[in-house]
Symmetry: C2
Subunit: 291 residues, 2 copies
């Protein structure tokens, strides 16, 4: 008996083409069509390298395609296998929930192949995954759009002593607004928020709010190219220090330390400190035994 056809949402993991699971790879290699979601995260390897490794052609699915033309993706998925690839884990972005709901409405069977996510890979910093509160997104500020509701969410987590994972903005295939006003669609080069840019924004909002939630001496950890590979880089320090840190190429994320940070977490994280003496001094004064 032939297995039923369906839509597979396959997590690719975080670092490179070999982070796919064996199960995921088998599904990709037998799928009729393969899409790669490429606007909420990026894999540090390009499409060509993935195509060579899978020995299959891949269609890049940008935001417009997933949100407006999902029927193209789902077409015939009850008669042939379609693989929709996502960087990290299928459930780490709401867009995929959306796609699953639409498939359900069309009575197309679905299966998700889980994988590593930044939500757990941040554990490489030494901070305990069990002690994180809600996850927060940080968007690029513009001259006239500086949303700071993230500050309230961080404050909520901090009120319980919990860490906060900050997911940093990605701008891929954004049209140039001046060109758009002239009726031309020209895309801006992609932009990825860095740990430093994020911390500068946090310090700016602290200036306005003045509740101390994102004060200059708050401890945080930046992680770049998370996923355990050699390219992964972790830097710990105060927000002021991290606002000057250079962690290199994308993607970057930031974890803000809550005051329940345990001694074993501190022992692990301090190895990554910009200034270990300062890190230890602040941890002992402001965090240790405050849980």
């Amino acid at each position: 008996m032939k297995a039923a056809n369906m839509l597979y949402i396959v997590g690719l993991g975080l670092a490179d083409e070999k982070d796919v699971t064996v199960k995921g790879l088998e599904i990709i290699r037998k799928a009729s069509r393969i899409y790669l979601e490429a606007y909420t995260a990026i894999l540090p390897v390009d499409k060509e390298r993935l195509e060579a490794y899978y020995d299959r052609p891949i269609t890049i699915a940008d935001r417009e395609m997933v949100e407006s033309s999902s029927d193209t993706i789902l077409e015939n998925a009850d008669k042939e296998d379609v693989a929709f690839l996502v960087v990290g884990d299928p459930f780490s972005a709401t867009t995929h929930t959306d796609l699953l709901l639409r498939a359900r409405k069309l009575s197309i069977p679905t299966q998700s192949i889980p994988n590593a996510s930044i939500l757990t890979a941040v554990g490489a910093t030494g901070l305990s995954l069990y002690t994180f509160g809600q996850t927060v997104s940080i968007v690029f500020f513009t001259d006239d759009w500086r949303p700071s509701s993230f500050y309230d969410k961080i404050a909520e987590n901090a009120s319980l002593g919990l860490h906060t994972l900050l997911l940093l903005d990605i701008k891929v295939k954004e049209p140039n607004l001046q060109q758009l006003a002239r009726g031309k669609i020209v895309y801006e080069p992609p932009r990825y928020m860095t740990v430093a840019q994020c911390c500068i924004q946090l310090l700016e909002v602290e200036e306005e709010r003045k509740q101390g939630i994102c004060a200059a001496e708050k401890l945080a950890v930046g992680i770049a190219r998370a996923g355990g590979g050699e390219a992964q880089k972790i830097v710990a320090g105060t927000l002021e220090e991290l606002a000057k840190a250079d962690l290199g190429k994308p993607l970057h994320s930031v974890a803000l330390c809550g005051h329940r940070m345990h001694e074993m977490e501190w022992e692990f994280v301090r190895e990554y400190a910009v200034d270990q003496g300062k890190f230890d001094e602040i941890w002992k004064r402001e965090y240790a035994r405050k849980g």
Copy 2:
């Protein structure tokens, strides 16, 4: 040039032997020694099946070995590769942080190979991973040991409207206390807490605390054998309903719904409801637009 030898902590994912990543599989197949951590989680396939798939022998590492004899595991790991396998993701259990810290003290290089974790696989329920608060462990109650500090943690998450993931107790290789008193070590059969057992304990503690945090009509989702495979089962309902639900073989986990549960989450989760009408009615009355 030969790559440096080291200790690899390899996440195996959640469902079966094919959930290992391609990178993880390559490391396992070339390692000199392979250990499998087998006391904080279980893979629903046995050691023999893993050994056949890897074509390599595996040593089971129980709690005693990891906590008291970690030097055996780390021996010569700077001269040959040692792979320490964990179900799920390396950072999802504190024991692995502990092992990494000990390796660091012995100047043994380490690398972690991330994978799917229950912390993200719970996203299969439809609940948004960004809206979870701290993670809580639920242990088996005994006649004279009924720790209920978990209730306070759930209450903290609930005060912010956040969901709570409950990780359920596992008892593997526990000595029989009566036999132990007679000087004999006899192990009890393994026990894995079910969704129903967990919900019964929550309701019992609610009887004592009476703050409504774990009231009979609170909405929750049980997930068994998470990991996206065909054996995965999800059941949603009130705590009272789930206290009677049978989700079959281990492992089980429970997610308690916070009042920030968004309409799209509800739309997804309700498909798994024991009693959809009741689920909808309670969601609309107690959760919708309360975020």
